[in-house]
């Protein structure tokens, strides 16, 4: 799939954000396409969280333009962003561990039956849908009644992703979904990122792990000290280049040199 023949669903142009006299983001350009995984890579303090918060409606950009499906927009709250189809899955704050899988799946969007204001849950529909939707994403659960805390970290993230996709997210923002996970668990999450991509969702994958990004990404944007320092497309980049660019190229060379000097002693 190439970026040239589709219009971006979400576009940032010259976006900046400052808190008082601290500039967190400056002149950031970002284009996100449906059915593609856009990776935003950055080390600690690069401005990843600020960028997520602007995208998900927590903060407003201080400058620049934010367009969604070609229209310039401004969000006042995360609910606003959700209503426009932008869903954010936060790293550890996506699910309630003691609640069952199906209750988590429909949390905040409970299906109701009979007279809606009474708020009676349509439990059969909820359980069946949760099971079917998770199966669609390749998560086969014996029982959606089990507490979501009994699932592994990767599976929990996967449920959160499936939930966002089911509730009509066009843009799915994933905040460091693999950072707290082991190798196998990360693999599971990466698989679901691709499953969401297959369904035409524009995925924004925010991470500091170039290895994970390289496995699933179509576009790579590098964030460093609040600026977009580089961007790549999948076909034209190698993993090594990505790692190099992420660590600031020359900086990593110096570091490697210094480490080698120490080791030779």
């Amino acid at each position: 799939m190439s970026a040239k023949n589709v219009n971006p669903i979400l576009e940032l142009k010259g976006v900046g954000k400052s808190f008082g006299n601290v500039v967190a983001l400056r002149d950031v350009d970002l284009s996100v396409y449906p059915g593609q995984v856009t990776c935003v890579l950055g080390d600690n303090g690069a401005g990843k969280s600020t960028l997520i918060k602007i995208l998900s409606g927590v903060h407003k950009a201080s400058e620049g333009s934010f367009t969604l499906s070609g229209e310039e927009i401004e969000f006042n709250s995360p609910r606003d962003a959700m209503a426009k189809g932008i869903a954010t899955v936060f790293q550890d704050l996506a699910t309630v561990p003691l609640m069952s899988v199906w209750r988590n799946f429909f949390l905040g969007n409970e299906p109701k039956k009979w007279w809606k204001p009474l708020g009676i849950l349509d439990m059969k529909m909820a359980k069946d849908t949760a099971k079917a939707e998770l199966l669609n994403m390749g998560i086969d659960l014996r029982d959606t009644n089990q507490a979501i805390g009994t699932l592994s970290g990767g599976e929990r993230q996967a449920v959160a992703i499936a939930r966002a996709v089911y509730f009509g997210a066009n843009v799915l923002i994933l905040d460091e979904p693999t950072s707290a996970l082991g190798v196998r668990q990360s693999g599971i999450v990466l698989k679901y990122i691709l499953a969401a991509r297959e369904r035409g969702v524009a995925v924004i994958f925010i991470t500091h792990n170039p290895h994970h990004a390289f496995l699933v990404g179509d576009h790579f944007f590098l964030l460093n000290r609040g600026r977009m320092t580089a961007s790549f497309v999948r076909e034209k980049v190698k993993l090594d280049e990505l790692i190099q660019a992420m660590a600031g190229g020359a900086e990593l060379d110096t570091l490697t040199h210094e480490i080698n000097t120490i080791r030779q002693d």
């Binding site: 704050l93 849950l121 009994t150």
Partner: protein, 349 residues
């Protein structure tokens, strides 16, 4: 987890699933405990009436007022908050309603309505202050507790000159109200308080609310992880404030029932009851950290208190030991419940 889960045999998968299912029920521990305690008291009983209908009329009379409030205290605790003012609210409500009838000359039903609305406002204040200040509800409602405790005594003395409100039985509609809220009903020769039926009704209502409605989902989520709930779009503040209002109104209803039954109210009524409610909820499998529990569990907890209150004198033991007994039960029950919830949570990564 256990090596069982790694084995890929169908029978074993079934077995683990069944076990997990049983462990997941929060009221399981309480139910088993209640059966054991009931059996023990039935065995040591010297009157021959503990296990029959008369005994049941006795322990339900004690347990129903505790149960009615404890159910809503449990919902509030599942939602992640405490209400230490729920006990004193029983007294406040009874005194307010009594004074409205005997001093202000109002009818019993209008007085009761005003009392319930007043309790709702106190509950709203509790909830609003907890949300707005971000202080723990333990502190906020402890403050409410002491404020109301002082008001109960001071205002009662100011109005009646004594520490008691009387004369409710002279109010309009007293007999009808008593028929509804404080009469005795004969079942096969045993005199059951009508509060038993209110208790059963509220248990069913609260269980339905908690497990079958969207609001119930929000209660679990607000107490389980308020941040995750907010991220998913749950109105956490509204949910919690509603729970505070419900708890306060339930306590006030118990206050009104007590007033109608006793035809009067002491200024110190209800104080200390908040701990009975919390014990009943905790014994019934409600997590003190919020996020899990059941209304049926709280009712079972209240029933266990009824067993002790009747069973201990029936065994001709000194009644002073009731509190000690409840203390031990509380500790054991929470110990077991915590272990059970760990099993249900599973290994987290």
């Amino acid at each position: 987890m256990s090596p069982l889960t790694t084995t890929k045999s169908d029978e074993r998968v079934q077995r683990v699933s069944f076990l997990t299912k049983a462990l997941r029920r929060p009221e399981l521990g309480a139910l088993v405990g209640a059966l054991v305690i009931f059996t023990i008291f039935a065995v040591v009983d010297t009157t021959g009436h503990f296990a029959d209908l008369q005994g049941a009329a006795g322990w339900t009379h004690f347990a129903a007022p505790i149960g009615i409030t404890a159910i809503f205290v449990a919902l509030l605790m599942i939602g992640g908050e405490f209400d230490l003012s729920s006990g004193v609210m029983v007294g406040t409500a009874g005194l307010l309603m009594g004074n409205l009838v005997s001093e202000a000359g109002m009818g019993v039903f209008p007085a009761m309505l005003i009392t319930l609305v007043f309790a709702g406002l106190v509950g709203f204040a509790n909830g609003y202050l907890v949300i707005r200040t971000g202080l723990p509800s333990f502190i906020v409602t402890l403050a409410t507790f002491f404020v109301l405790k002082g008001v109960n005594l001071a205002v009662t003395k100011l109005i009646t000159g004594t520490v008691r409100v009387d004369g409710i039985d002279k109010g309009d509609g007293f007999e009808i109200a008593r028929d509804w809220f404080a009469t005795k009903i004969d079942i096969a020769g045993a005199q059951f308080q009508v509060s038993l039926f209110w208790w059963i009704g509220f248990t069913i209502f609260a269980t339905w609310l908690l497990t079958r409605t969207a609001f119930g989902n929000w209660i679990f989520a607000s107490g389980g992880d308020a941040n995750a709930a907010r991220n998913a779009g749950v109105p956490v503040a509204r949910t919690k404030i509603t729970l505070f209002v419900m708890t306060s109104v339930a306590a006030a209803l118990v206050g009104a029932m007590t007033l109608l039954e006793l035809r009067g109210m002491q200024a110190g009524q209800g104080i200390g009851q908040e701990f009975y409610y919390i014990i009943a909820a905790a014994v019934g499998g409600t997590l003190l950290t919020g996020g899990a529990g059941s209304a049926i569990g709280a009712s079972i907890g209240a029933a266990i208190m009824g067993f002790a209150a009747i069973g201990i004198p029936y065994a001709l033991w000194d009644q002073d030991w009731v509190a000690t007994f409840l203390g031990v039960i509380l500790f054991l029950a929470v110990l077991v419940n915590t272990w059970l919830s760990k099993q249900a949570k599973g290994a987290r990564k």
